[in-house]
């Protein structure tokens, strides 16, 4: 069979729209037909196979091509001031897209299957699966789209499906509050993104990525300045801050853990929150150096702060939530320091091992009858061996231990920050990265030891614990196998040898003008001609060299730090050489700061929430007293005026009318006398009148 581009496009479109069908059918008929969740699940298995085929065909047959399929949706013609706007809808298939589609469908599929067991007995069972279908559809839309308009639409669609799924058990107050919080906090970021899109569209009159990139590479900038470009980059990044739960909008993600655990795995760990990073990868060509620096700073803060919080949390899902924010911070920081490929790599590996961790915690929570506090767990290793082993593998991956996927990708990011440091002299990002790597290993093994090792602390619950059923264990095994390194690179110590990075995912052509780039990202045209005519070097050779040099020191440092972190966790919690409570007492201020999540919620409550309430009080006062006063005042003025006109009507106008009537009456009274009804008298009047007239006109 001849493989054409249109075949790939068709496969991609079927993959995109099947979950939508699943959503609609399951939502409409789910109440009556109990087995309908199998329909949704089989759709997921189908789209997983389709996306695997899609990725295979794309990566083997069209390795270096970007396939764009679009159609004109709306032609606005010549709008005054905006020239011609045509809105095109369409999909774009490049290597990043197909790999991301495959990752999304894999995680979505295993989460669907896991949910069959986890959600068993829920009264809105089918509703849950239909929401998952809606989410899968929206997420695939984000991944496949080739324009900002569809990106924004699907962006909001994942927002609403996230809202629906966080608030799935909405009968509980905290749950519905968390759903609202997630939705509202996301809105804040989306406003920035929306403004960014508006600026781009009014400048370039198109929504398509490729056309915008082309225009910018020609030197047409928003507002005509490089600052305009930076502004657009930062505004678009605001959307990613909200969706990827970056500092300072990260507060919604830990609360989102109120939702069902598989949802946390799918949406709030593996896919949706990664949409922000994916969006940054998409718009990478137009991010100027200044914008990238801001992105890197936000990413570093988001990597560091939540990592310190995760160290002291007792809720197993909260630990994982903060770890997710921290890892997303890693990816954002990697984008910021120009390590494009490693950011994407970490996005993919993180999706698998973090989904595995969440599903593992879901398995534990389910077995403990919805107990999430790690202080009440312990010793589960013997009762739940499959969960334990898979959780351990995923934790090793998250901590960045060699032979796991996380080691490769995290090492890549650290190499990127290290190279950035050596090229620009800015070592803060590398330092943050290493510190977070240590913290990550520590808090993950703290969680493992508290949950699985030691003696059971809640005997009653421990007695009833048993290993999860097949539908719940199988996804864990699949995901933990995907967390091993050999899938990505045959050499477990060098991420650059991975086929994923060296062959498939390459930094895109940068559209930003040379003067607005980082120095090391400037294109060196002469070098291109010397080395290779075909291939264009996007980053300078100094960067390649710096990456190369950074490789070994980073590798050793990060692995050592990860082992140290694990060791530290064992010292504190397994062997108890140092009592963690005493340590906490000694470092009380630090401990409290971390335990209370750096008081972000309190600060936001005191400033934004209380501020909003205060503002609304002021506005309420203004409304009540001033606006209402004006309204009432004008009303009473009108009343007096109308009373006056009423009087005028009654007396003057009616007086005239009545007077006329009265006069007519009087006249009538007079003339009535002549109306005798007697023919002869009429005749007499006639004759006399004629005589008088004759006398007058003689």
């Amino acid at each position: 069979m001849h493989i054409t581009e249109s075949l790939l496009v068709k496969i991609a479109l079927v993959t995109l729209f099947l979950p939508l069908i699943g959503f609609i059918v399951t939502l409409l008929f789910g109440k009556r037909i109990k087995w309908l969740y199998w329909f949704e699940n089989s759709i997921l298995i189908i789209i997983f196979s389709l996306s695997a085929v899609l990725a295979y065909l794309k990566l083997t047959n069209f390795t270096d091509q970007t396939i764009i399929s679009e159609f004109q949706w709306i032609n606005l013609g010549n709008v005054p001031f905006l020239k011609t706007i045509t809105i095109e809808l369409g999909i774009m298939l490049d290597n990043v897209t197909v790999i991301m589609v495959l990752a999304v469908t894999i995680v979505s599929m295993v989460v669907h299957i896991f949910s069959i067991g986890y959600m068993k007995g829920d009264k809105r069972y089918n509703r849950y699966f239909s929401y998952l279908g809606l989410f899968t559809f929206s997420m695939l839309g984000i991944v496949l789209t080739h324009n900002l308009l569809m990106m924004y639409i699907f962006w909001e669609l994942v927002g609403i499906s996230s809202y629906l799924l966080i608030g799935f058990w909405y009968e509980k107050k905290t749950v519905s509050d968390a759903a609202k919080k997630a939705f509202l906090v996301n809105r804040i970021g989306d406003i920035g993104m929306f403004l960014g899109i508006l600026i781009l569209v009014t400048t370039f009159n198109t929504f398509s990525f490729d056309k915008i990139f082309y225009q910018i590479s020609l030197g047409n900038l928003p507002f005509g300045t490089e600052f305009g470009l930076t502004l657009v980059g930062v505004l678009l990044f605001c959307g990613a801050i909200g969706k990827s739960a970056q500092f300072p909008l990260h507060v919604w993600l830990p609360d989102a853990m109120e939702g069902p655990t598989p949802v946390s795995a799918l949406i709030h760990a593996a896919t949706m929150v990664a949409a922000g990073v994916y969006f940054l990868i998409r718009i990478f060509p137009i991010l100027s150096g200044d914008a990238l620096l801001i992105i890197a700073i936000i990413g570093a803060l988001s990597a560091f702060i939540p990592a310190t919080i995760a160290v002291t949390q007792n809720d197993i899902k909260k630990v994982l939530a903060y770890s997710t924010i921290s890892q997303l911070g890693y990816m954002v920081m990697a984008i910021g320091v120009g390590a494009y490929t490693f950011a994407f790599f970490h996005l993919i590996t993180h999706a698998f091992f973090k989904a595995c961790l969440f599903l593992g915690s879901g398995s534990v929570i389910n077995a403990m009858h919805h107990e999430q506090d790690m202080r009440n767990m312990g010793g589960l290793r013997k009762k739940m061996p499959i969960t334990y082993v898979t959780f351990l593998i995923a934790s090793l991956a998250l901590s960045g231990i060699p032979l796991t996927s996380g080691f490769l990708s995290k090492d890549g990011i650290l190499v990127g920050t290290f190279a950035f440091g050596s090229l620009t002299g800015n070592w803060w990002f590398a330092a943050t990265g290493f510190l977070v790597a240590f913290l990550t290993a520590f808090y993950m093994f703290r969680a493992i030891i508290l949950t699985f090792h030691g003696k059971p602390r809640d005997k009653k619950k421990y007695e009833k614990v048993k290993e999860s059923s097949f539908v719940m264990a199988m996804p864990l095994v699949v995901l933990s196998i995907l967390s091993l390194s050999f899938w990505y690179s045959l050499n477990p110590f060098n991420p650059e040898e991975s086929k994923l990075l060296s062959n498939w995912v390459k930094p895109p052509e940068i559209s930003v003008p040379q003067s607005a780039r980082y120095d090391f990202m400037k294109t060196e045209t002469e070098k291109v001609n010397e080395v290779n005519l075909k291939e264009e070097i996007i980053y300078s050779s100094a960067y390649t060299e710096a990456i190369h040099h950074a490789h070994y020191p980073t590798l050793f440092t990060s692995a050592t730090l990860a082992f140290l972190g694990i060791l530290f966790a064992f010292i504190l919690y397994q062997w108890k050489f140092i009592d963690p409570d005493k340590l906490a007492n000694k470092l009380k201020p630090v401990y409290l700061l971390s335990f209370n999540k750096w008081y972000f919620d309190e600060i936001y409550y005191a400033t934004f929430v209380a501020g909003t309430i205060g503002l609304s009080r002021v506005i309420n006062f203004f409304d009540n007293k001033i606006v209402d006063g004006i309204v009432n005042g004008s009303a009473s003025v009108t009343r007096y005026l109308s009373a006056f006109t009423g009087k005028f009507d009654n007396i003057v106008v009616d007086g005239f009318v009545n007077m006329t009537a009265y006069l007519s009456g009087l006249l009538g009274l007079f003339f009535r006398r002549f109306q005798t009804g007697k023919v002869q008298s009429y005749l007499m009047f006639v004759i006399f009148s004629i005589i008088i007239l004759l006398y007058i006109f003689k």
Binding site: Q675, T676, G677, K678, V679, Q680, L683, M684, I687
Partner: protein, 103 residues
């Protein structure tokens, strides 16, 4: 000997007219009123004939007089029919008492 001219005819006709009017106005009986009307018409006839005789109109005046006589006959017939109907309605032909036009 008095020469009889146009003036004499006019005087006779105006006397006749006045008598007719007088009859129409004063008589209570509807028949009498009708007879007064006949007098008025005939005074007009005298006028027509007299003017025709003394003026230079040819026979127009006489012809008109003949028309008036025919008209009077027709009018008398219709008027008598009306009077009969009035009588049927009111059992009375006293013009004074028939004053429902007032209402």
């Amino acid at each position: 000997m008095i020469h009889i001219g146009l003036n004499h005819y006019l005087i006779v006709s105006s006397l006749l007219f006045s008598l007719g009017i007088f009859a129409v106005i004063t008589r209570k009986n509807a028949i009498m009123v009708l007879m007064g009307i006949e007098l008025i018409l005939n005074s007009a006839n005298i006028n027509f004939v007299a003017f025709a005789r003394y003026g230079n109109f040819g026979l127009t005046g006489q012809l008109t007089a003949l028309f008036v006589i025919i008209l009077a006959a027709a009018e008398a017939a219709i008027a008598m029919a009306i009077v009969l109907n009035i009588y049927k309605m009111f059992t009375n032909i006293n013009v004074d008492e028939i004053d429902t036009l007032k209402d």
